[in-house]
């Protein structure tokens, strides 16, 4: 039994669904696709401990796990719990580390010059990235211009950058860098200094950005590409284990209410006959299923009034498209 002073101490199921949209009101659930709203999260001791440690030592929290295991929604749920600001960016193969700090809109500057509108001061063309917003919001709003002396005389209110915050209004922030393994292999290493020292220099604005309050940086990886060891050594690691039956049912109850508990248990039992989660490296041994696929199946059963039964044609057809997705492609030998 773990016993420590929890900075982050959520309930086992943290549900921020606004009153009036839940099952309690009699309305249908808003479940659709992958939920990234962070409204509902089912915690276990390992997750709570990892978040507490990341908050204590002010290191990024790197979450690894299969797709649909709840990596991305954790960050927003934490932000909702603390009522902190929330920023997110989904990393793609083209994302560079600097994109997360700031971008310079060279094309708009060129367009202004071409249109003979007059090229404004460089700060007008700076777009702050998520880490800038999380580190120092006032500076990001001014795009790096000095607040005491606005610098360019024409920096009107309309030139203020728009805060992409999706959370509450607070000094603290949670930043989600989603799917970092999709990025160029150098990108994680290029983030070491800004994430470690919690400051960076905006060369285009000739200004230093320093975090007033260290944000909680949550980084997710599907493990499709290995991350540099230098980066791994600097993160708090959380491996989200594949859920067992009990956890699946708890997740379903959190999303759909407890009314159809028998159905949740039946689907979980058919999905995991051995009541074991799928190991991360076990692609060959067992089919890969996640909580997301389980929720899709439960949702479809509820919507279409399908009862999960072994050897039932309708159930088998449903499970074939929601759970047992073939990995083999036709025509490949």
């Amino acid at each position: 039994m773990l016993s420590y002073k929890k900075v982050f101490n959520p309930r086992k199921t943290e549900n921020f669904t606004p009153v009036g949209t839940t099952k309690a009101s009699g309305k249908k659930d808003q479940y659709a696709g992958d939920r990234r709203d962070g409204l509902v999260y089912v915690y276990d001791d390992d997750i709570i401990l990892a978040v507490n440690i990341a908050l204590s030592v002010k290191r990024p929290l790197l979450i690894r796990g299969a797709s649909g295991s709840g990596k991305s929604s954790l960050a927003l749920n934490i932000a909702r719990f603390f009522k902190w600001r929330y920023y997110e960016v989904v990393i793609s193969s083209g994302t560079q580390a600097r994109d997360l700090l700031w971008q310079f809109d060279t094309l708009r500057r060129l367009s202004d010059a071409q249109a003979h509108l007059g090229v404004k001061d460089d700060v007008h063309y700076i777009e702050p990235g998520v880490l800038w917003w999380a580190f120092d919001r006032p500076s990001a709003q001014l795009r790096g211009a000095q607040p005491q002396k606005p610098g360019p005389a024409d920096l009107a209110d309309t030139a203020l950058a728009i805060d992409p915050n999706k959370g509450d209004d607070d000094e603290h922030a949670v930043v989600l860098l989603d799917e970092i393994d999709k990025a160029d292999p150098d990108t994680p290493n290029n983030l070491l200094v800004p994430l470690g020292s919690l400051e960076f220099f905006v060369t285009d604005a000739k200004t230093k950005v320093k975090a007033t309050e260290p944000p909680l940086v949550v980084i997710t990886s599907n493990d499709e590409r290995e991350l540099p060891s230098a980066f791994l050594r600097r993160c708090i690691m959380l491996n989200l284990k594949a859920p067992n039956r009990a956890r699946l049912v708890a997740i379903a109850v959190a999303h759909f209410g407890s009314k159809n508990r028998v159905l949740y248990e039946q689907v979980a039992k058919l999905m995991l006959p051995e009541n074991e989660g799928v190991a991360m490296d076990g692609e060959e041994a067992k089919p890969q299923q996640s909580a997301a696929e389980y929720l899709d199946t439960v949702s479809a059963c509820l919507a279409l009034n399908i009862k999960p039964k072994p050897n039932d044609t309708t159930w088998e057809a449903l499970s074939k498209v929601t759970l047992w997705k073939p990995k083999e492609l036709p025509g490949v030998n």
Binding site: M1, L2, S3, Y4, K5, K6, V7, L49, A50, N52, I53, L55, S56, V57, K58, R59, S93, G94, T106, L107, L110, Q114, D181, P185, L192, V193, L195, G196, S197, E199, D223, E224, R225, E226, P228, A230, R233, R234, I236, M237, L238, M280, D281, E283, E284, A285, E328, L329, G331, V332, N333
Partner: protein
């Protein structure tokens, strides 16, 4: 000066303890483990407290065992790959192996599980890195736009940044020589991974024996014809042992000269060439290793290795 972003250290452990105030050993251990640290907590147990004489006897026995251990030959290096064919001149220590029927269950014997040569969770990234070619499909190349406009010219086409992409597809050449028989399942599996990564329509699969210039084709051997490199500058990927696994006088074994002819043909078509070879670097023919990037088809291969190899190939081989 920014502070250095050092790796997680004892300071982090101290900070975590100070902030979280763990009240029992389990919590302290869980925090340490989460920070990537390991220690063996002493667990005093009264039943394990031994009388002085007994402790002395055990110490003497331990000293004797240690001396005997020191007399044993040093262990040979750890075999890191199932394809490690290196041999030690020293006599290997005898190993006790249980009988096959005792160690393999019936189901295992019927269907042995294939351990893929690349680590499964890295395979896709290795393929993406190895098979990507630079194409102008990225963002607008603002620097070039500025250069064109600044020199008073019109923008006839919008310059785009060169970005690594898999859009050109790949020509996959699978060596079906007898010496590659142990790797047939690996070839099939990797073929499937390549199709899944690059796209079904973008993979052209040809099979050959010995060397592709002897003839290659998609169907059965009698239908094979003269080898043609891709017209679209698509990368060419070889799944072959480059003749390493074949006896010197075997007809199937292609000589270095034959391989160099093939390499010249592919280079003439301006297609990047890459080979996945299931043998370690010390066994690669040096002349071929100097001409094309060869990747060891092995579990230790990472994306970084592939990227470095391709970078070296671009800078040195050309």
């Amino acid at each position: 000066m920014p502070q250095s972003f050092s790796a997680i250290n004892l300071g982090d452990l101290a900070r975590a303890f100070a902030r979280l105030k763990p009240t029992n050993e389990d919590s302290r251990l869980a925090i340490a483990v989460s920070l990537g640290m390991r220690w063996d907590l002493p667990k005093p147990n009264k039943s394990l407290v031994k009388p002085k004489a007994k402790r002395e006897r055990e110490r003497t026995s331990e000293r004797q065992s240690q001396t005997e251990f020191e007399r044993l030959p040093a262990p040979t290096r750890v075999i890191s790959s199932r394809l490690d064919h290196s041999r030690s001149e020293d006599a290997a220590p005898s190993i006790s192996v249980p009988p096959l029927e005792a160690s393999v269950s019936e189901s295992d014997a019927q269907s042995p599980r294939l351990e893929p040569l690349f680590l499964p969770r890295w395979t896709r990234a290795i393929l993406s890195a190895g098979l990507a070619t630079n194409s102008e499909v990225g963002e607008i190349d603002v620097d070039r736009v500025v250069d064109i406009l600044a020199s008073g010219q019109c923008l006839k086409t919008l310059p785009l940044l060169s970005t690594p992409t898999l859009t050109r597809g790949v020509q996959l050449l699978i060596d079906r020589s007898q010496a590659m028989t142990p790797f047939i399942r690996d070839q099939i599996r990797l073929h499937r991974e390549i199709v899944a990564t690059v796209g079904t329509d973008r993979v052209t699969t040809l099979r050959f024996v010995g060397c592709p210039i002897r003839g290659a084709g998609a169907g059965p051997e009698p239908t094979w014809s003269h080898y043609e490199p891709p017209l679209s500058k698509a990368p060419v990927l070889l799944l072959s042992d480059l003749g390493i696994g074949r006896p010197m006088l075997n007809d199937e074994r292609a000589g270095v000269r034959e391989w160099l002819t093939f390499i010249r043909l592919v280079k003439k078509a301006k297609s990047p060439l890459l080979a996945f070879v299931p043998y370690e670097a010390s066994r690669w023919p040096p002349k071929l290793a100097n001409e094309i990037p060869i990747i060891q088809w092995d579990r230790n291969t990472t994306v970084t290795i592939v990227c470095n190899k391709l970078k070296h190939a671009r800078e040195v081989i050309g």
